[in-house]
Amino acid sequence: MDANELLSWARGPGFDIALTIFVAGMLLRLLEILALGKKPDLSPPRGSGPKGGAATIMTRMLPRKQVFDKEPLRIINGYVLHIGFFIVLFLYGPHIVLFESFLGFGWPALPSGVIDAVGAITIVSLVAALVLRLNNKVLRFLSSRDDYVAWVVTLLPVLTGYLAYNHLVAPYTMMLALHLLSVELLLVVAPFTKLTHMFSFAMARWYQGYQAGRRGVES
């Protein structure tokens, strides 16, 4: 298949299929969790559940000292890769055009040189995440195929985007097509791996924070 045809497929049917699976799959997963429900708690509340839930969504963004001291590198790397991924995804001009198309509003883009540098840092950070995972015996033992699949499909869009922008490995048209295809792979895989945390993190934190808040304890 010629690069132009591949790009047309990726921008056409490929994207529609991937986005449909992503949205439907993600809703399916989230609804399944929500529908589990919870048993009514008949004890008198000693604190506010919603307050605890809302607070926990925010506080879990920050590291806990005891955890941080144990493995500072892994925690910092976690921040680098998440923030890096957010910057390249949401602050690159051509990406904003996509969000604008369905949100109806846009926001200013960062210079592409900055995106380029952040992209490179994100790639290094993702590689570091894998190395740290493999070097930690407990973590390695706990890792399943799911974790490695999630790592690959997260790395590919950043890597192909970086290669496309810098005209490396393949001509731009081909690399752009591969970039879009890798994003589509991420969209298809995300609902069925731990990548669901991109949405479910808030639900999980709310649940835990709510339980603790209601009992009047710290979560």
Binding site: F15, T20, E32, P111
Partner: protein, 363 residues
């Protein structure tokens, strides 16, 4: 073939030796040849006799021919073009009807195996090729016949090179490109809708100088002209890098000459020389005139999602896809929730109580 060499003809036309050498230097630089080869280009062009060229026009709009003939006369490129022996071109030649076809047959017979075949327009294969015919001969038949005796073929314009507009969805005539039909001849594609005149003359000059076609890329385009994309050579590139885009064709950004990416510019995926060679004697080119590149020299450009749709956007409306998929997701999610609840209540209902006694029995 004419007995005069190219340099003799040029001198007859009043072109000085100095003028000729300047043209050779310009041609060499356009073809990205090292300066050391300029004398070789000059020597070859001086000695060149008029090669016979047969130009076949099939399913096309004559825009390619317009592009060539409207090229700033009387330039040296124009003279070079005068000095090929254009033995058949049914738009430009004086003869018509049988006389024209006769001229073609004559030229083919006389220069069998040596002439250059230039094709513009695609070839329809539908209805046994009967969608387009010249003098009762279908395009398909004529192409095969003329290609057989050609030294090389130059497919001029996107239609001849990749099928172009006639091949656009739903391709009612079953149009195909030249290379889909002719497999045993050297072919060079000079795509564009229309292609840049100097690129055509450059390819011909290369053929005259070296007796062979220039180095081609994977789409059979001369690398010297199609080696880089428009985006990389665009003078508006700095605005792209800074994230400054025109949002409409008459907003502040457009007036300031910002990047046209958001307005659908296909510069990043289009390989052509417009940004460097430019049009109309170097006057301007599409992006400079304020309109994004439409990618006219790329295969399938007509079906690439629309000229005004940004390259980073999918072909269909994202919002609609999200809503449809969202509705489906909620339906499937609700069904799954009901199913899960049932599984759970079934498990509760069918639970067998295990007593200490049972456990003791097991062990």
């Amino acid at each position: 073939m004419d007995d005069l060499t190219l340099s003799e003809r040029l001198r007859q036309r009043g072109v000085s030796r100095r003028g000729f050498m300047k043209f050779c230097a310009a041609t060499a630089s356009m073809m990205a040849l090292p300066p050391i080869l300029i004398p070789k280009v000059a020597a070859a062009l001086e000695q060149a006799r008029r090669p016979s060229v047969i130009w076949l026009s099939f399913q096309e709009c004559t825009g390619c021919t317009e592009s060539l003939t409207r090229s700033h006369a009387p330039s040296l490129e124009g003279l070079i073009f005068d000095h090929i022996s254009l033995d058949y071109h049914h738009t430009l030649q004086a003869a018509s009807g049988d006389a024209a076809e006769h001229a073609r047959e004559e030229a083919m017979k006389k220069h069998w195996g040596e002439y250059l075949l230039v094709v513009d327009g695609s070839i329809p294969l539908g209805e046994n090729g009967n969608f387009s015919a010249i003098a009762g001969i279908s395009n398909l038949e004529m192409l095969k016949e003329v290609a057989e005796g050609a030294a090389a073929i130059v497919s001029v314009g996107t239609c001849a090179a990749y099928g172009g507009l006639p091949m656009a969805n739903p391709n009612p005539t079953g149009a195909v490109s030249v290379e889909e039909i002719i497999k045993d001849k050297p072919i060079v594609n000079v795509p564009g809708c229309p292609p840049i005149p100097t690129v055509i003359t450059g390819v011909l000059a290369h053929f005259l100088t070296f007796g062979k076609l220039p180095e081609l890329d994977h789409l059979k385009r001369p690398k010297v002209f199609f080696g880089q994309n428009i985006h990389d050579r665009c003078y508006r590139r700095p605005f792209y890098e800074r994230g400054q885009f025109a949002e409409t064709f008459d907003d502040e950004g457009a007036r300031k000459g910002w990047c046209l990416f958001k307005l659908g510019c296909k510069g990043p995926t289009t390989y052509n020389a417009c940004a460097t060679a430019r049009w109309n004697q170097g006057t301007s080119w599409p992006v400079e005139s304020g309109h994004g590149c439409i990618g006219c020299s790329e295969p399938g450009f007509w079906d690439a999602g629309g000229f005004y749709r940004a390259l980073s956007l999918p072909f269909t409306d994202v919002g609609e896809t999200i809503l449809t998929a969202g509705a489906a997701g909620i339906a499937v999610g609700a069904a799954a929730a009901v199913l899960n609840k049932k599984t759970k209540s079934d498990a509760v209902n069918n639970r067998e109580t295990i007593t200490i006694k049972d456990l003791e029995k097991e062990s």
